[in-house]
């Protein structure tokens, strides 16, 4: 009866309200629903039109991150919202959360931050659960051994109203990374290397499970960086089996179980890792030692390469279009390419360990003349923690900007954006045309690589500064 199951299958099976039939997809239950101001307004409208309540407000948590500014607070202690449309969207989330009884971490409050940063921070993100959010980087939460994926606004309405989704079961893809990462090679480089091999559509229809000794050796924050970018290979979800690293991170967090309940939860969570003999629909293997610091050269995250490599030839129309947009010469090196802006932040790389890594490069140095460097913590709690250990001074003394928490220049709908033609090295997750501002050009890389570019003003291998 019981065949060996993968981590994904165990969580899927435990959340099927009703199995798929010939005519209907499975009905899948969502344990936790995270919402934000940009993809929820139309969903609440849909509920109001039908006179439907939120089924499980206590399983729903809201924050503001996408359209919120990250400009430093005014003398009144408030973060100034300059844009009327953004202000209206923010006000609407406040009204919706008030009317429907949903916990909200509002702009400027202690718990506010990027939705995928605050979930784990609060201990809401737990192994074995299903987590959804109207945001494709919901895959981040899979780092805890949860099944977490992004949904559209119609589905946000479905979950608000019924706590359920109609889902066709995805396939499984094992990404196995064995060995030891070289010094100066980070979790961001691992995931950029994975996406460069799979391609931006390579994981479509699949849930990824990252495994192997190199993955086991990552901290929770590093695991979040890896799972975060699963969607950039087309996979809706990325997961890592929970272990002692996971439990250590979660223990004592505000929403984590306590006392006897904690022990019981850990005992259950230990049953989650894939069984010996469980099979995946597909597997890709990586040698950790062969992974170099990575950087993207094109207009999707799959167009990545080792930082010392040369930009490829424009061998097809899509690549030619990308290189033309980026203003890059085919087969030329990227090292030494002049840059205008450095952005350190986003749900990929805005956690304390990312800021500490960047600070090792900034410390005692100055941002290159003419370069704008933004450091944007992922949450108000991270901001406070970073300030407690003096990281803000390191960035400010170097001439970088130290901002309030939010998505900032990753999404460029909040005032933080590139000017047309500018080049940025960014620790975020997308280098699509105009993603960081119309006409802006993005090189994705790790916090170390981004910080190194801020100091030198050109694309730089951070290992040369250590």
């Amino acid at each position: 009866m019981s065949h060996p199951r993968t981590l994904f299958e165990k969580i899927w099976d435990a959340h099927v309200v009703r199995a798929a039939t010939a005519n209907t997809p499975a009905i899948l239950y969502a344990d936790l629903h995270l919402i934000h101001e940009v993809t929820s307004p139309q969903a609440f409208t849909s509920l109001r039109e039908r006179g439907v309540k939120v089924r499980r407000p206590e399983q729903t948590v809201a924050t503001m991150d996408h359209s919120t500014p990250t400009t430093p607070r005014g003398k009144d202690g408030k973060i100034p919202v300059l844009d009327n449309a953004a202000a209206a969207q923010i006000a609407q989330l406040e009204t919706n959360c008030g009317d429907f009884g949903i916990e909200l971490h509002a702009l400027g409050s202690e718990g506010q931050g990027i939705v995928h940063v605050i979930g784990p921070e609060l201990g809401l993100t737990q192994p074995g659960g299903t987590i959804v959010c109207g945001d494709s980087h919901t895959s981040t939460h899979g780092a805890f051994g949860a099944l977490a994926f992004g949904i559209g606004t119609s589905e946000v309405a479905h979950v608000l109203a019924t706590q359920c989704l109609l889902q066709n079961k995805p396939k499984t893809l094992a990404i196995t990374v064995e060995g030891k990462l070289a010094p100066g090679v980070t979790a961001k480089d691992v995931v950029l290397a994975v996406i460069a091999r799979l391609g931006i559509g390579g994981g479509t229809g699949h849930v990824i499970e990252y495994r192997g000794s190199a993955i086991r050796a990552l901290s929770m924050e590093e695991r979040m960086t890896v799972c975060n970018m699963s969607i950039e290979a087309g996979a809706r979800a990325g997961m890592i089996a929970p272990d002692d690293v996971t439990f250590e991170y979660l223990k004592g967090r505000p929403r984590a179980p306590r006392g006897v309940a904690w022990e019981a939860a850990v005992a259950e969570w230990r049953k989650l890792p894939s069984d010996a003999g469980a099979t995946y629909d597909r597997e890709e293997k990586f040698d950790a030692a062969a992974i170099e610091p990575m950087i993207t050269y094109g207009t999707n995250p799959g167009m990545g390469m080792a930082i010392g490599a040369r930009v490829p030839a424009a061998s097809n129309p899509t690549l030619a279009k990308a290189l033309a947009y980026m203003g890059l010469e085919a087969e030329a090196p990227l090292l030494g390419h002049k840059i205008d802006v450095v952005f350190i932040g986003s749900c990929t790389n805005s956690r304390l360990s990312d800021l500490r890594a960047a600070a090792t490069i900034f410390k005692g140095r100055k941002v290159a003349p003419g370069v704008r460097a933004l450091v944007v913590p992922g949450s108000q709690r991270i901001k406070k923690a970073a300030e407690a250990e003096g990281l803000d001074r390191v960035f400010l003394d170097a001439g970088a900007e130290w901002r309030e928490a939010g998505c900032s220049m990753c999404i460029a709908m909040n005032g933080d954006q590139l000017k047309p033609g500018q080049y940025a090295v960014s620790t975020s997750n997308r280098n699509f045309e105009g993603r960081q501002g119309a006409g802006g050009r993005t090189f994705l890389a790790s916090p170390l690589t981004a910080a190194a570019a801020a100091i030198t003003g050109v694309v730089t291998d951070a290992r040369s500064l250590v």
Partner: protein, 195 residues
């Protein structure tokens, strides 16, 4: 949303691979709190120059493209952000189907809920469509076929439930709301009591 059954339309072709949802609708237009009017912003940075004028070379701006309801696009259409504003914008502009060799998961799900049919065809059929922008095609959701001007008939698959909803112009939320008893039973089993 109106039901989709069978319709004939000329095509617009955007052959680029990996057209992401940031291109379909840039993030700065996501401050909307309704679904209306997004068609004006569809492919904004490809359609318009910085001064707001139409770029004459862009496929949607060519006179022959006016009134087209079928978009033929390169591989992996709709990748990236989960923003449902992408299918809203395509629908509002007038599109009722997107044809590609593959379509990204979240975009596909979102489209099926908004009267926009995501169609995946084989490479040979796709190549014919790309080679003939403006040609008429007939899309039949009932038969699950795309018929080209030269008589080529390509089958496509769509999950039966989405097909039923699209054919009848009904939405999935109504169905889910009608499953209250099963959902309640699941919650009881899993120890989730109402508060």
């Amino acid at each position: 949303m109106e039901p989709i059954k069978t319709f004939t339309s000329k095509t617009v072709v955007l052959p680029t691979d990996n057209i992401d949802t940031d291109q379909i609708i840039p993030a700065r237009f996501l401050k909307a709190t309704t679904k209306l009017g997004l068609g004006d912003k569809l492919f904004s940075d490809w359609r318009f120059s910085a001064d707001g004028k139409e770029k004459p070379d862009f496929a949607l701006n060519r006179p022959a493209a006016k009134g087209a309801r079928v978009l033929v696009a390169g591989d992996n259409f709709g990748c990236g952000s989960s923003r449902e504003h992408a299918p809203w914008a395509l629908y509002d502009y007038g599109f009722r189907a997107v044809i590609s060799t593959s379509i990204a998961d979240i975009f596909k799900n979102n489209s099926l809920k908004n009267g926009l049919l995501p169609i995946t065809v084989d490479a040979a059929t796709h190549a014919k469509l790309v080679a003939a922008p403006g040609a008429e095609v007939t899309v039949s959701l009932e038969a699950q076929t795309v018929t080209l001007a030269d008589g080529t008939v390509a089958k496509f698959s769509v999950d039966p439930f989405s097909r039923y909803c699209l054919l009848n112009g009904i939405d999935e939320l109504q169905f889910l709301l009608s499953q209250d008893a099963d959902i309640g039973a699941y919650e009881t089993t899993m120890g989730r009591k109402s508060k």
